[in-house]
Every structure is written in structure tokens, then in C-alpha cells.
């Protein structure tokens, strides 16, 4: 996972040089018409761009509802004018295929525990870094931040060796551990910064009431850290759900998650879009639902600097 620290740096207005204050100049009719036309042109350009951006996904969605015969002979756009081409047969076939349905469960079995583990371990460590006193605290935190940008590639060979020795190579458990480890630096970084903003008085008051370290964590820090934890959980969930590389190496090749199952289809048959298109769309369903439901948390997760 790599991340760059994005500290919201407000641009410095003075850099642009002094701007003498004068009253607004009356604008001629011609210049007003010109800016109106420009505004119209911008709208047209944006509509074209939006269509261009939607086109690839639309192609996948429409293709997933076409018969293999139609996919092989004509473009997906032909189906827009010919409703007779639409069929759910590809989805019926895919969801009736045990290998694929079990891959959905594998994906869930990897994603949910990885997310929970990263949130729990990350929050605990972030709390310690933010509020507990122990020797070398700042240096330990710097170490964690340094790990933010370490590429997963560095760990593939060594961890494969290690998991082999432990007997957890090609198991769901191994994949969960790997994702959790590489999710932790970002989790600790994000949550520590958020937890540190909690007003000190709240913690001191709870302390005076006799709360111990654990109680402070579960009763004060966690509830107040809600927004950051939500952003982290959504981000980690999406990352693990969408991963292919780690699963390709560490998952059980007999019951792989969806991404690897589809990748295997790809290698075997080349361009069998009647399987790949609905399969790809099914893998996108959950991430897209989360994206549209939790836009703000997702964007803030991405913006707080994590880009794996």
C-alpha cells in the first residue's frame, strides 16, 4: 500500500501578486453574449465527456445481457435498438455454476475479516500512539508511517515462504493476514491523526471518573472516531474486495475469490464475454453500491491520502 500524506494545504493567495481593487467594469453586450456561448460550449463538452466515461461500463452491462452468438457477431450498441436481444441467460448460467457462486463466498470470507481485523488492530494501535505514554512513541509512529508506501510486491516471495512454513499458504486465513498487515500502516496513520483531535478534556474527565485504558478506548475514543473508522472500513473493504494480485498468489487456487476465478476464465478461453461480462459486473455490484451509498466516506478515505 502506498500513500502520500495529503495535508490540506490552502493555496497561498499572496503568491498571485497584488490585485488592485477597482470597481467592476461595465461589460458590453457582445462580451456577455460571448461568455454565454462559452458557457454553452462547456456544457456540451462536459456532456460529451460524461457519455465517453460511461460508455465502457455501459458496454459491459449491455454485453452481459446478450447471448454469446450476438456478442460474437455484433456490437453491444445494436441491442439498444433491438430489445429482442436482451436475455438473462448468462446470469442464469453463471449463478448456476457452483465454482462461481462459491467464489463469491470466498471473496466475502476474505474481505469481511480483513476489514474487521484492520479496523480493530489499527484503532487499538492508533489509540496507543495518540494518547498512551510509552518510550519511543514518536519513533514507533514514524516507523509505521514509513511503511505507508512499501509496495506489496516486496513481500510476495518472503511471505509465500513464511506461509509455506506455517502451513497457511494458499488458505483464506493467509490472504486475510496479508491484507491486514498491508492495510495497517494507513489505518494507524488515518486513525491516529483523527483520534489526536479528540478534546483532551473529555479523556481527562473520563480518567477522573476512574476509567481505565480499555474503558477510555471503547467509551470515548471509538464512539468519537466514528467518521474516520467508517472511511477506513469502506476503503479497506473496497481494496480487499477488488484485489487480484494477493489472491492470485496466496488464495487456495481450488476455491479462489471472484477476481481470480474470472481471471482463470480469461486465460482459458480468451474472450468469452458471455462469462466475463456478467462476472465482472457481479464483482462490481457491491463496490458500486457502497460507492453510491457512502460517497462522502469513500471520497474522504481516498482523499486522506491512501492510494494503494
Amino acid at each position: 500500500m502506498t500513500a502520500t500524506l495529503i495535508t490540506a494545504q490552502a493555496p497561498d493567495p499572496s503568491a498571485a501578486g497584488p490585485a488592485p481593487k477597482t470597481g467592476p467594469r461595465p461589460r458590453s453586450l457582445a462580451s456577455r453574449l460571448a461568455s454565454l456561448a462559452a458557457g454553452g460550449a462547456v456544457r456540451v463538452v462536459l456532456v460529451v465527456l460524461a457519455v465517453l466515461w460511461l460508455l465502457p461500463t455501459a458496454g459491459l452491462l449491455v454485453s452481459s445481457f446478450r447471448s454469446p452468438r450476438d456478442i460474437a457477431s455484433t456490437g453491444w450498441w445494436e441491442a439498444l435498438t433491438d430489445p429482442g436481444q436482451w436475455t438473462g441467460a448468462n446470469y442464469d448460467a453463471l449463478l448456476g455454476d457452483d465454482t462461481f457462486t462459491s467464489s463469491i463466498w470466498t471473496t466475502v470470507a476474505i474481505t469481511v475479516p480483513s476489514t474487521v481485523l484492520v479496523v480493530v488492530l489499527g484503532a487499538a494501535a492508533a489509540y496507543a500512539f495518540a494518547w498512551l505514554e510509552f518510550p519511543g512513541r514518536d519513533y514507533w509512529f514514524l516507523l509505521v508511517v514509513a511503511l505507508l508506501v512499501v509496495p506489496v510486491q516486496v513481500a510476495l516471495i518472503p511471505v509465500a515462504k513464511l506461509f509455506n512454513a506455517l502451513g497457511i499458504f494458499e488458505t483464506t486465513f493467509g490472504v486475510i493476514l496479508f491484507h491486514s498487515a498491508f492495510g495497517l500502516p494507513f489505518a494507524v496513520f488515518l486513525l491516529r491523526n483523527f483520534f489526536a483531535e479528540i478534546p483532551r478534556e473529555l479523556l481527562e474527565a473520563a480518567r477522573l471518573d476512574g476509567a481505565g485504558e480499555l474503558r477510555l478506548f471503547t467509551r470515548v475514543v471509538l464512539p468519537l472516531g466514528g467518521p474516520a473508522i467508517a472511511a477506513l472500513a469502506i476503503f479497506q473493504f473496497m481494496w480487499v474486495w477488488n484485489d487480484m494480485l494477493v489472491a492470485l498468489i496466496f488464495a487456495d487456487s481450488g476455491s479462489p475469490p471472484m477476481t481470480v476465478a474470472l481471471q482463470q476464465q480469461m486465460r482459458q478461453f480468451g474472450s468469452n464475454f458471455d462469462v466475463l461480462a456478467p462476472g465482472a459486473f457481479l464483482t462490481m455490484l457491491i463496490p458500486l453500491a457502497i460507492f453510491f451509498a457512502f460517497q462522502r466516506q469513500f471520497v474522504s478515505g481516498v482523499m486522506s491520502g491512501a492510494v494503494k
Binding site: 460474437a72 509505521v144 477510555l216 487480484m244
Partner: protein, 432 residues
């Protein structure tokens, strides 16, 4: 982070309970592997013999790895720049649009999906056949709009007929023509469906002041017609350019009419006739996106589709903090929109643009899924990048984990500068 801010004088074992699980996991699966990879990169494939820096030398001398290195360089330079540039344009354009949120949602959406799904999406986009792949469908439509479709791509001279095929694809009548004698230029091999709208061929008028003639499909269904003669049911081939050539120079030209006839002025007398090649060239089939030459730009296109939204959202956030008054003041002073953008907006956004570029560069450095999925096996070698080569070297057939580890160490070295910048910034904030 301020030292000494910790209010809680915690018991050591309590600190350990909160901290250790995370640190142990990080130590075992992130820190230990870094050390192992560095050490492993100095040993050969079997891992028994110390080879020094030989594996690193291999990276720079092995052709396929060097190709991956070169592609990575192209990726790092092109992909972040294009994505950031587009993000900047989108952010600025949407600034004063009421439905900006909807637009941003559309452009940002690909961030939510996996690279595998994006790869499959673009395999579909880049299908070679313009009837199936949307990229080539658009390309051929644009191409045909501007340069026109060729009228009779399948038409050929009749074997042992008077016309011969030239190197440039045109059809030449060797015998010089004379004005006043209509010329017959028979072609064959046009599929029947293409002729359904064609009119019957006519014999050209005889005019002593002009060179006239007919171009037609010299074939009657059922085989009743005679070769080289315009039979009653035979169809005209319209829209073909007939050129009169003398000493390699075109002296006159005309297009065949609906009935297949043409007439050239008297200058054509004694020249050779040639049917221009543009009527017969094979239809334009679009670009070979997944072929060896275009595969890397094509995959970069897919990446830009995914990540421009990321750049756009970050830049838009930066844009929101640009003070309105500064921009307004410049406009009042008579600066046009371009000058405002170039001289004020972009410089103020500098730090944000830098962060976006660096983030994308780190991301691109490790690009794997998109390349692995989009490149068909025939052009995988041409699309190769370091992360893919690392995977192939480490886990493919004939794996050499020494070389694989060396590539991993190289990737790590490339992100170290960013790591240092991150740490410096953090320490600066600590001291505040």
C-alpha cells in the same frame, strides 16, 4: 502530534495489549519481508549461491526485463501527467456548472471497481472488429466521415481481361485510348447484395471530341452473359474515378455516372486509362489496440479512465480554497479566462497538483492487474512492466526468485524518496 501530549500514564502491559498485535503483524509480514527480499536478491535462483549484484545486472541486461523497465518509464511519465491534466480540466470546467456533482460522480465511479473488472471492460472496448469494439467503431466512423468509404472494395479486373492491377492498387488499361471509340472496362467479384441498388450498365455515347466508356460488373447471374460485353442484366459500377495518364501524369479525370459511363475531354486522346485505387481499397478497420505497437498506450488509456476522477476530486477540493476575490480581481483587471487559469489558478494549485502527481506515480510504479488482464498473451511481452515481470519471475514457470527479489528491491528503492518526504513532513508537523 505533539510529544508529551499523552495524558494517560498507562500501565506497560496495557500499552502492549493495544500496540503489539499491530506491530507483530507489521513486523512479520512487512518489515521482515523487506530484509528477506534484500538478502534474497543477492542469491541465485536456487537461493544457495551468493551472486552479489548479478541479479540487478540481469535486470538491466535481460531483454524482456529491460523492455519492462522501459515500459514502466513510459507509464510513470505519461499516465500520471495525462490523468492529472484531465483531472485539472474537469475540475475547472465543472466549477460553475450546476450538475457538477453528477458529472464528478460519473468520472469518479471507475475508482470503485477492481482493475480486473476495468480490464475486462477495456478488453471489450478494444475489440479489433469495428462491429464489436466501441473504440474502433468510433474510429472508423470518424475516418469514413472524413475520407469517405471506398465504393467497391471487392471489385477486381476480370482475369485475362484488358485491365491489370498496379502496385498502388489502381487498375490500368495498357492500350492507349482514342477519342470517339467508347472503351469497355469490365470488373468482376463484386458481391451480389452490393449491386442491388445499382442501375443497368449502358454503352457510352460515341463523341469524336471526347474519350468515353463504361465501367461495369461483367457478370450475369446464371452465367448467360458474354465476357467483355455489356449484357442486358449487367449492372453499372458508379462513382469510380477514371484517370487519363500520359507519361505518368494525370491529364484528365472523371467519375463514372449511375449508368457506369464516363466521358473525358479531348486531352485524354492517346493516353492510358486508369481506375483510381481509392474505389477499391479495403475498408478501414480501425487501430490494432491490442497489437504489439499500441498495447501500452491502450492500457494507459484504461488507467487514465480509472484515475482521472481521483485527480479531479483532489484538485476540485484545492480549487475550492482558491480565494474568489483574487480571481475576480484579475477578471476585473481585464484578464481573460485563459489568463486567469494559466497565471493564477494553476500556480495556486501547485502543491495539490504535486501531491496528485506523486501519488499517481507511486501507484503506476506497481501497475499489474490492468496489464495482466488487458494484454492478450500474444502481446504480453510488449506490454510487460516491472510488477508483472516480478510476478512471472517469482511464480511463473522457470521461476528465478533471485531476479524476482531484485525487482522487488528496485521497486522499493524507487519509493524511498517519497517515504523520506512523508517522514520529513511529519516531523515538521511534530515540532509545531
Amino acid at each position: 502530534m505533539e510529544s508529551g501530549k499523552a495524558v494517560i500514564r498507562a500501565r506497560p502491559w496495557a500499552v502492549a495489549c493495544f500496540l503489539l498485535p499491530a506491530l507483530v503483524l507489521l513486523g512479520a509480514l512487512v518489515i521482515y519481508p523487506i530484509g528477506y527480499s534484500i538478502q534474497r536478491s543477492l542469491f541465485d535462483a536456487s537461493g544457495d549461491t551468493f551472486v552479489g549484484l548479478d541479479n540487478f545486472q540481469e535486470i538491466f541486461s535481460n531483454d524482456s526485463i529491460r523492455h519492462a523497465l522501459r515500459n514502466n518509464l513510459i507509464w510513470i511519465v505519461v499516465a500520471p501527467t495525462v490523468a492529472t491534466g484531465l483531472g485539472l480540466i474537469f475540475a475547472v470546467l465543472t466549477e460553475r456548472i450546476r450538475w457538477a456533482t453528477a458529472f464528478k460522480l460519473v468520472v469518479f465511479m471507475p475508482m470503485a471497481i477492481s482493475m480486473l473488472a476495468a480490464g475486462i471492460i477495456f478488453r471489450l472496448v478494444y475489440e479489433q472488429d469495428p462491429d464489436r469494439g466501441v473504440a474502433n467503431a468510433m474510429l472508423t466512423t470518424v475516418h469514413d466521415t472524413f475520407s469517405g468509404t471506398s465504393t467497391w472494395p471487392d471489385a477486381q479486373p476480370r482475369p485475362d481481361g484488358p485491365l491489370t492491377v498496379q502496385d498502388d492498387g489502381s487498375y490500368l488499361l495498357e492500350q492507349p485510348v482514342t477519342a470517339g471509340t467508347p472503351v469497355l472496362l469490365p470488373l468482376v467479384a463484386v458481391p451480389q447484395p452490393e449491386l442491388s441498388d445499382a442501375e443497368p450498365a449502358a454503352t457510352a455515347a460515341t463523341d469524336p471530341g471526347q474519350v468515353t466508356g463504361t465501367v461495369w460488373m461483367d457478370f450475369t447471374r446464371g452465367g448467360a452473359g458474354a465476357e467483355g460485353v455489356i449484357d442486358p442484366e449487367e449492372k453499372a459500377l458508379s462513382g469510380i474515378t477514371v484517370e487519363a495518364v500520359r507519361d505518368g501524369e494525370v491529364v484528365a479525370a472523371a467519375k463514372t455516372g449511375d449508368d457506369g459511363t464516363f466521358s473525358l475531354p479531348a486531352e485524354a486522346d492517346g493516353a492510358q486509362l486508369r481506375l483510381a485505387s481509392d474505389s477499391f481499397t479495403a475498408p478501414y478497420n480501425g487501430a490494432e489496440w491490442l497489437g504489439p505497437d499500441l498495447i501500452t498506450p491502450a492500457i494507459i488509456g484504461a488507467y487514465v479512465w480509472m484515475w482521472s476522477g481521483f485527480a479531479m476530486v483532489l484538485i476540485a477540493a484545492g480549487l475550492a480554497s482558491v480565494p474568489r476575490e483574487t480571481l475576480e480581481a484579475a477578471r476585473v483587471d481585464g484578464a481573460n479566462e485563459w489568463q486567469v487559469f494559466r497565471r493564477i489558478t494553476v500556480p495556486l494549485l501547485g502543491p495539490v497538483l504535486g501531491v496528485v502527481l506523486v501519488t499517481l506515480m507511486i501507484n503506476v510504479l506497481k501497475i499489474f492487474d490492468l496489464v495482466y488482464i488487458i494484454a492478450p498473451s500474444s502481446s504480453q511481452a510488449d506490454a510487460n512492466v516491472l510488477a508483472l515481470q516480478l510476478y512471472l519471475s517469482s511464480f511463473g514457470t522457470g521461476a528465478d526468485q533471485g531476479v524476482g527479489s531484485a525487482i522487488a528491491v528496485l521497486l522499493l528503492l524507487l519509493v524511498v524518496p517519497v517515504m523520506i518526504v512523508n517522514l520529513r513532513r511529519l516531523r515538521r508537523e511534530n515540532k509545531r
